[in-house]
Amino acid sequence: MTTMTAQTTQVYQLFIKATPERVWDAITKSEFTTRYFFASRIEMTDGRRRAYGPNGELWGDSAILEEDPPRRLVHEWQGLYDPDLAAETTSRVTWEIEPQDGGITKLTLIHDHLEGAPKTAESVAGGWMLVLSGLKTLLETGQPLAG
């Protein structure tokens, strides 16, 4: 029997009917993130990416490693919303935004450096799927995913 361990490099890719600029805004501005990113308010200031929960609790506070709007964003990742995850080593998230023909944008998310963070790897594997399909729905329909 093989036991499934979450991958230490996770790759997610999807196509969204929206411009790269709109995709960039949706991943970097809190007026969008509150509508699809587990209701979190994401703020990017002073080289940090901070995420706040609905009651202002700090869910994430990580260094931004690269910021090249509207094409590429790289930041560290550490889940502060759960003490088990906060105790693990820092991982890394890369967002790549590439325009395609016909007003479509290809979004690739790579979550890597998860070798020292098995619980985080497990936790984000389902999480990114929800976040990304919610992001696609929000940008294409103007409505958040029902839920």
Partner: protein, 105 residues
């Protein structure tokens, strides 16, 4: 239509086998994947290309190597579009049955 490509890509046992191998462990090279199949390198490449065209496999370069990653998003979108809604109907049919039976009891 993306859905067509995903369904077509999934409609082959070799390609499903490749997806299962990547599900177990991601980031494999062509040589690694090829070693698990009784098939020519060219044949495996062809299958991987179809999976890539359907968005089910994403390749990334790492130095001189090309690594293959399973991209779970298209299957999720198919699930949301084609499976979830039928499951909901099934669940609500059971709920209706329960209500009806309890009312007449």
């Amino acid at each position: 239509m993306t859905d067509d490509r995903v369904f077509k890509a999934l409609a082959d046992p070799t390609r499903r086998f490749l997806l299962d191998r990547l599900y177990e462990r991601d980031g494999r090279t062509l040589s690694e994947l090829e070693s698990e199949l009784e098939m020519t390198r060219f044949g495996v490449m062809k299958h991987l290309r179809l999976l890539e065209d359907a968005g089910l496999v994403v390749t990334r370069r790492s130095g001189r190597e090309k690594l293959h990653y399973l991209n779970p998003v298209p299957i999720r979108l198919i699930h949301d579009r084609w499976i979830d809604k039928y499951r909901e109907r099934y669940v609500s049919a059971l709920a209706d049955l329960k209500n009806e039976l309890e009312e007449t009891a």
